[in-house]
Symmetry: D2
Subunit: 279 residues, 4 copies
């Protein structure tokens, strides 16, 4: 028996839950977990089902769902949970998010493999060594096109399924983010959409906000505007300096990014019209 995750979204209509479970049951699948949400404000239905079935039966299910697809304007994806996803970690010099991801994966909290660490600095190379993850140095003092072609090669060579920007402080080109649409997760050190752009903690301090946050989101062509996957916040001491905000922010950043990666690995993230729905 292999475990699969099915993701469906389509215009809301009666019979969707019963219809889907019937397709799975008929093929002999055992449904382990089922979550669905009907977003009334836009009339769209989302469903996530975890099921177990013999590998040779999965095609039958796909065929049945294909039939439903055109009928119900339904989009679906099936993910094979037996194959570990491989994530490429992009970093600059800061390592709090990197360590948090590496330690959580090692402890079994994140069910994935890290395919590589890519950095525009060499300083975090040794961390790759300690955790047995190959390290690639791609300097940022060359043309963006050249850098990103190198990224494409590394992603292909290391068979990476997605890219995690774990405090990678360089901007990616629209061509690149489009090519890996919804496969690049970024951590923004601010509570989006409040503090877009550079130095969000400076902005937060200047506004005198009482609570700071971090946002993990898909990287898209619109910088810091991609669909939000996870957010967390923390009340700050009234007397905190900008420097203290930066330090307080690190804890929020790392737990928010790890949490977003986990949601993505479990295929809980749906993107629809610029926002996510997490099931």
């Amino acid at each position: 028996m292999t475990r699969y995750v099915l993701q469906i979204h389509c215009p809301d209509q009666t019979g969707l839950i019963a219809g889907t479970t019937q397709v799975l049951a008929k093929a002999g699948a055992n449904i382990v977990d089922l979550t669905q949400h009907s977003a009334k404000d836009i009339g769209i239905f989302f469903l996530r089902a975890v099921f177990e079935i013999e590998e040779n039966k999965i095609e039958e299910i796909k065929n049945h769902l294909d039939l439903l697809s055109s009928h119900l304007s339904l989009s679906f994806k099936i993910h094979d949970s037996s194959k570990k996803q491989r994530l490429a970690l992009f970093v600059s010099k800061t390592d709090h998010c990197l360590y948090d991801l590496l330690l959580k994966q090692r402890d079994g909290d994140l069910d994935c493999e890290f395919s590589c660490i890519v950095s525009n600095h060499t300083v975090l190379g040794p961390v790759g060594g300690v955790f047995g993850v190959p390290f690639y140095y791609v300097p940022s003092n060359q043309e963006k096109q050249v850098q990103e072609d190198r990224f494409r090669e590394i992603i292909a060579e290391t068979k990476s399924d997605a890219v995690i920007l774990a405090r990678y402080m360089q901007i990616l080109s629209p061509a690149f983010t489009e090519e890996f649409r919804y496969k690049i997760i970024n951590i923004h050190h601010g509570f989006l959409p409040a503090f877009k752009g550079a130095k969000p903690y400076h902005q937060a301090w200047a506004k005198g906000v009482k609570i700071i946050g971090a946002t993990a989101h898909f990287a898209t062509e619109d910088l810091d505007q991609g669909p939000i996957i996870a957010q967390d916040v923390q009340r700050i001491p009234e007397t905190a300096s900008i420097e203290q905000l930066v330090q307080l922010g690190k804890d929020i950043e790392k737990r928010t990014l790890s949490s977003a990666v986990k949601l993505w690995l479990e295929h809980r993230v749906f993107v629809y019209e610029g926002r996510t729905f997490i099931l």
Copy 2:
């Protein structure tokens, strides 16, 4: 079409989701919402389904589920959502929880009717008048048995489905809590199970805890030990006095109780072996 909520729990086994949805689909029901949870630590499966069907078909569903019952050691309940639940509010002198419930019900946040306000003091009588809820004065300087018999009469007369102890500062007898098992919701002004018994804020202060909370739970024979429905917490200023803890606690108490009442009204609360599972 009438809307119903189905609650199921049984030993975990394969086929439960597919089986249940099939029963509903066959009878022509439209499943609007489905949540389930398999608690691996105890091997028990819980399912909550909201569905719509014509009223005369509901018996068919009950019959099918009865068949499954013995087969799968399955327990189920079906609630008719078209009938508003009627809640009796028990209070003493403090009114922050009372107002919060009355205002939320009036604003449509709580889908229920308040059948009566019962108090061992007369001071909150006028509030009943303002909100159009009949007020009953049952003094506590008489025998508990006498008081509780009066409660039974009031509950019967006012056709109350459940009792909300909205800061009712009297202890109910085991006989009474047993008779209305899982139908009496209490708000405890402490983060249970930490501060059982009297004066929880005094206890919290003496321990120097940094965060206080409130707990809404079913009243049972074991005082302050009944299954927990909802909890909330708040960080406290280090310099807070006991009196300030009491005042800070009020906000937590009212939102925790309202939240528990809402979960109960939506039939999201399952009780199993002394704890709840909220779906």
Copy 3:
């Protein structure tokens, strides 16, 4: 002995704490509470001292501080805590913030008097009656100038020290907010500066944010941009509809506004270059 609150701010320099406490001690004042903060990012020092002294000695303290003023570029204010502040409550139709303030004041959590309730609708008139606060109806279907002149009269007649916009859904003119600079507190139903303008919950939903908040701030000419006094947040269910966000938001709004009013009443709020510092 009368209790006073002293607020000071000035460019940071050595000797400020010792200097200030010496002035108070020499005059025979007993310092009950002292908080200070040196905001390193802008080089400004803030101090709040609560002290007790015989009323006839307060002039001596003022004179000494006047001397320091020019010397140290120091600004100071002294508030007499024995005189209850009088707050005018402005509302439209929604009453959750109104009730919360009225109940907290009645319970002694807010040390003030409510001088009047002003509304552009008549629906909340009876609430004023229940709590013994005079109600003024100022329709919004007349020229803004006319309305605001009426506000000025009411504020003068009722001897109001400040205005609380407890979900008053009308925009005040720059002339009016300037006249009552840092004396009008507004509750914005969004986590500013993220969701300025109308329908913040709709905006939050469309962005798919995972946490919503409310912001209490001084009303200024720049709509929703005035200095922030208090903020609070709450994680939202992923499946929440816009309508549910609105309902969830009410609890946050009321506790955030009450908390801001309390900070203001205790003279803990300093405004400097567009942001507050709370001591």
Copy 4:
């Protein structure tokens, strides 16, 4: 100029703030930060002052405070901030707290030196190597007395000022905790005082609590009862298994312990009658 931190506590009485600041000012000290709290419920006054003065003047201040001591039943301590405190880290096999402390110290968030890592297992030895902290292996399969004598030697050899139990899963003897009274900080993986003893996450799950927490406290003879320094909490998914609670708990544990260590290093922690006051 050297920076010092002064900690005072004594029965509350008038003139304490003015008196203390006068002593400091007379000796020529510049007061950088001053916090005080009068705990009305017990009538005790606490004060923390950060001040700068030439090193040779500190004796004068001590003499003056000695005079006040007997007069006012006042206890005081003066800490020299120019000398980095040295902390011994005790661990077993789990490393999330260890890494968090090491990384935060390296990043400048914790102003201290780690004098050694002590463990009853060898598995975390290499971490010491990576961060340049000497590692000592003290197996727990020998008599407690023998182990603790070895601890005493290590603490003396490495000139450690305090011990951080960063998930050290062995019980220390009353003699040892008494000897290092308020110098041993433990992280308990539960929201004390709710879940004392072993397996707090199992206890929390069985009770169905909706929020879990962690508690950093001084280790004392009464296991898990020592004065609480810091606490943090997190709402948990209703469907979380015990194993997931354990994993979710790790983030809370590490940030709570780091936060407690930081408070201790800054001399913000006062202990009085079994509880702390944090200034």
